[in-house]
Structures are given as C-alpha cells and as structure tokens.
Point group: C2
DNA sequence: CCCTCTGTTATACTTGATATAACACAGAAT
DNA sequence: ATTCTGTGTTATATCAAGTATAACAGAGGG
C-alpha cells in the first residue's frame, strides 16, 4: 500500500486518494477482485478521517472502478464503458494539451510523454 | 468572446473560466498582447459575479498566461517556462492515462486523440 | 451472547467558492 | 479644477463543500 497524500496541495484529499488508487490499478498494484483496505484501516494509516476515505471509495464506485459490499468492503471491479472513457479522456486531454501548447510544448513532445507514461504503467 | 459556463458542473466557475480562456489562447482566439474583457464586462456577459472573474484572472496571472494592469486590465502575456510546462503535463497526463487504461483504452487510441485535439487547435 | 469487524448515518466544524458593497486610482470629458 | 466613468482592489457576508467526531446498524467469529 503506497499512498502518499500532500496536505499542502490544493487538491482535496479524497481526490488525491481516488487518483492514487486509480493509478494503483493501472500499474497492477491492485487487481480485479482484490480487496482494498477498510475505510478505517486506510484512514489510520494515512492519518486522516474515515469519512474522507469513504467518500473516495464512493466516488470510485460511482465511476465504475470498485464495488462496495457492506461486509467485505471495497473490491476492485472495473465497469468497462469504453465509449464514456474515450469521451472523458478527450475532454481532459483538451485542457491539458491547451495548457501545454500555450507554453510551447510540441505535439511530438506530448506523444513522447504518452509513451513514457504508458511505459511506466505497463512495466 | 465565446465562453460557456455549465452551472450544473461540479467544476468551480473560476476553474471553468481559466480553462476556457487557456483553450481560447491555444486556438488563437486570443493572441499575445491582446486585452481580455474587464472583470465587470465578462461577469455581466456571463451572469456571474465580478469577483469570480477576478479570481480566474489572478490565477491566470499566477500561472503565467496574462499580466494584470490596474488601468488596462488583463492582457495575454505568456510566460514561457517549458520545463515547468512539461512537468505539469506529465503529472496531469499520468492521471488521465491511468483512468483511460483501466477502462481498456489502448495506447494507440490515446495517440489518435492527441492528434485529433492538436488538429482542432492548430486549425 | 459478546466482541470486533464492516460500511452508514447524523451532526458539527472549518475551509473554500461566490456575492454585495465600498474603495482607490487613472484617464476623459466638461 | 471637477466630475464622470472606467479599471482592479479590498472588506465583509453568505452559502456550499470538505473534513472531523460520534453514534449507529448489520454480519460474522469467538
């Protein structure tokens, strides 16, 4: 369990949690069917409130990354909706690329970044 | 001036404003040295508060997209810091790509999206 | 039957986003 | 000079969102 929270960040804690868990799934640190730590366990480990973790898990459920069972807790369960995923990726990329373009980052450099990150994830 | 705010979005209004203005710069709708509408003009046009626009402009200044003059208002002035831009792009892409990968989007499909968006911007 | 584990709900507290109002400075018109 | 109108700024208030504390409810193991 390698989750690092930056308390000085302007990003909400539950958002950081969501992102790190999703990245954990992408890197196969968490696998389909695997059980995440209970809200209390994780909250204590990080030093934050149980409710904040609960909110992160709820959002991950809503976005189709986990399923929540009252007895077993949160379990990795990807809901594959590729059309929605492509739409979401397009919208988020539009913002990221606009920022990069304004600052003089070329199309080639972006493609290189993509390959670099995909490399980190597939390894 | 084509700025559309979604009041049902979970994104804060000032964030939507920042993003749309940055996309406006990327599409050459706004050019270096050009003057943005005054905080009151834009606020009235959109139907929001002047202070919300002011916050967006302040953030754009802080991030190096505009300069604010008490007399002339906000003026497009890109502060080219490519190293920081590449770092930022890497961090944001890490999150976007993780989400996409989990949902079964391939590396090739991401590259296609990049080209598609760059095409829209350069046109 | 009790103890402990799970998530859930109710309630407060604190911070951030947005709005209202008054301010201060600069330039144009009179 | 004086007034008017434009700019961003600051102070204050309001409302929503993020986070925390505490008590609850169901499930399973001793």
């Amino acid at each position: 369990m390698f989750i690092e929270i930056d308390f000085n960040s302007d990003e909400a804690i539950y958002v950081q949690l969501c992102n790190q868990i999703i990245m954990g799934i992408a890197t196969s640190q968490f696998r389909e069917g695997e059980q995440l730590p209970s809200v209390r366990q994780l909250a204590d480990a990080i030093g934050i409130n149980m409710h904040t973790v609960n909110k992160a898990y709820s959002i991950l459920q809503q976005e189709g990354f986990v399923k929540i069972d009252r007895r077993r807790g949160a379990i990795i369960a990807i809901d594959l909706n590729k059309l929605a995923a492509l739409q979401e990726a397009h919208d988020m990329l539009s913002v990221v690329l606009a920022r990069a373009m304004c600052k003089g980052v070329s199309r080639t450099e972006i493609h290189e970044l993509i390959d670099e990150i995909y490399g980190e994830y597939e390894a």
